[in-house]
């Protein structure tokens, strides 16, 4: 217990960096994922194909491979970063975007066909149908799955700790190596800070799910 209290500043720093990585990657992934989902249902065949391939490949790539590519392979082939946070954000956001695209697409499919037909019958174009009618309704139904993806993102950001970014897991590992006699306490402390983020998000997801279920 003393180890945790002594190193509370380190934990806090790691916690903030985990929060930062998750927030930035989450925002980029949400934007990228929604664009990919829109491309997936668009009339332009090339965009559909690109989006399908992207989602299929990234969804089946282990996250560690994505990190390895961004943090170790990219610098070797001439892409240099000032900080490894950039590599972590690239890996996390491109990986998560594929899952968000799938969730949003299944949300688009869950909107009743009549909505799109009605919108088209009053003369809306594809972009209008999608942005004014379909996506607002789709996002509503996909909010619980999206929150679950963001929870997974928070947990996945721990992989960054193994690729030269000192976030919660990185500090946890460092402290565990430095305090060989108190490994279990150190790692339980790390787990506590992760739960501090994931448990409230999980409660939020199930609350939203219940609210949406009643409204339908």
């Amino acid at each position: 217990m003393d180890v945790i209290i002594e190193n509370l500043p380190l934990y806090w720093e790691g916690f903030l960096r985990t929060l930062f990585l998750s927030a930035v990657s989450g925002i980029i992934a949400l934007v990228l994922g929604t664009l990919l989902a829109a491309a997936r249902v668009s009339p332009v065949a090339a965009l559909r194909g690109f989006s399908t391939v992207y989602v299929e490949v990234l969804r089946n790539t282990p996250l560690t491979i994505a990190f390895f590519f961004a943090a170790i392979v990219l610098p070797r082939i001439g892409v240099r970063f000032e900080q490894f946070e950039v590599a972590a954000i690239i890996a996390l956001s491109t990986y998560t975007a594929a899952f968000i695209a799938e969730a949003v697409r299944s949300g688009v499919n869950s909107v009743p066909v009549g909505q799109a037909e009605a919108a088209r019958s009053i003369g809306m174009k594809f972009g209008q149908v999608l942005s004014l009618i379909i996506l607002p309704q789709a996002l509503r139904t996909v909010i619980p799955p999206l929150i679950n993806i963001l929870i997974a993102l928070v947990k996945n950001s721990s992989v960054a700790g193994a690729f030269f970014v000192l976030e919660l897991f990185g500090y946890g590992r460092q402290l565990a190596n430095a305090n060989g006699d108190a490994v279990i306490a150190v790692l339980l402390g790390t787990a506590f800070f992760y739960l501090l983020l994931t448990v409230p998000l999980g409660i939020l997801a199930s609350t939203v799910e219940r609210k949406v279920a009643i409204a339908r």
Partner: protein, 279 residues
């Protein structure tokens, strides 16, 4: 579905769409060409860098890594599924004294990064990396399996359990003989999707120094020289992704097969959004 979002294209729209397709393809091809050019400038495509794949020992090492990945995944899946079943039974037990602690335990396991659990087992109990990887995967995935099966049980009509109890089955027998078989069948797509996640997560073994595929890449790059990093990484990543895509296809096939049966009135499929897999 997509055709509902826009009218059947006329000649003008078809032309615009064609132009869009061509421009889009050109942009994507341009991007690819730029990447390949950049790589070529680094000398990635020199034949000597790829000649290492003519050496048998490179393939032996890759094969060993692949074997380590698959065996850890298989062992973890075989243990995690029954454990998840047991946890699910405890989670929906009638006695609150069992239900509530198990619920807390499941929340705890699901809320933690898998890699943290692996490190916990590795350092906390001083086990070998193999046991650490398998234990981490088992703990996390058993919790997820338990939640998936629970969702399946709760999606059944209440009459199923009531009928079971009415014909004199005990609560446990009703679960085992009536509810679980239907629940597992109904959640099959989610369960297989979670198997893919489990397989992907074995790559986290790289972080706890388990000799899986990615670790084999690292070892070879250190041993043979970093100029071979890209070719070896490329081949290993391709193997990993190909296996995962195969298993994912299996999940889609099972889902199709299941929904065909469901059309006969056996069980109605779950809404798609509920089954969207989580990374």
């Amino acid at each position: 579905m997509s055709s509902v979002l826009y009218d059947v294209p006329g000649p003008k729209a078809r032309r615009i769409s064609l132009i869009g397709s061509i421009v889009g393809s050109l942009l994507i091809l341009g991007l690819l060409a730029w990447i390949i050019m950049t790589l070529a400038q680094q000398g990635i495509f020199e034949a000597r860098r790829w000649q290492i794949f003519t050496r048998g020992d490179v393939w032996t090492l890759l094969g060993n890594g692949l074997w380590a990945t698959l065996s850890a995944a298989a062992l973890a899946a075989v243990i995690a599924f029954p454990l998840g079943l047991v946890l699910c039974l405890l989670r929906i037990a009638d006695a609150a004294a069992i239900r509530i602690p198990v619920r807390v335990l499941l929340e705890f396991l699901r809320g933690m990064p898998v890699v943290l659990m692996m490190l916990f087992v590795l350092l906390g109990f001083g086990t070998s990396p193999f046991i650490a990887v398998v234990t981490g995967l088992v703990l996390y995935n058993a919790a997820v399996f338990a939640e998936i099966i629970r969702a399946g049980v709760q999606s059944l009509p209440r009459g199923q359990r009531e009928a079971g109890l009415a014909i004199g089955l005990t609560s446990f027998k009703s679960r085992m003989l009536i509810e679980l078989p239907q629940a597992i069948r109904r959640m099959m797509p989610s369960l297989v999707a979670q198997m893919v996640v489990l397989l992907k997560d074995t790559s986290l073994g790289y972080i706890v120094a388990y000799g899986e595929l990615l670790r084999a890449v690292q070892v070879m790059a250190d041993f043979l020289g970093t100029q071979f990093l890209f070719p070896i990484f490329f081949v290993a990543a391709a193997i990993y992704i190909a296996i995962n895509i195969l298993v994912s296809r299996l999940a889609v096939w099972i889902e199709r097969r299941g929904s065909k049966k469901a059309a006969g009135g056996v069980a109605k499929p779950e809404p798609e959004a509920a089954e969207a897999p989580v990374p």
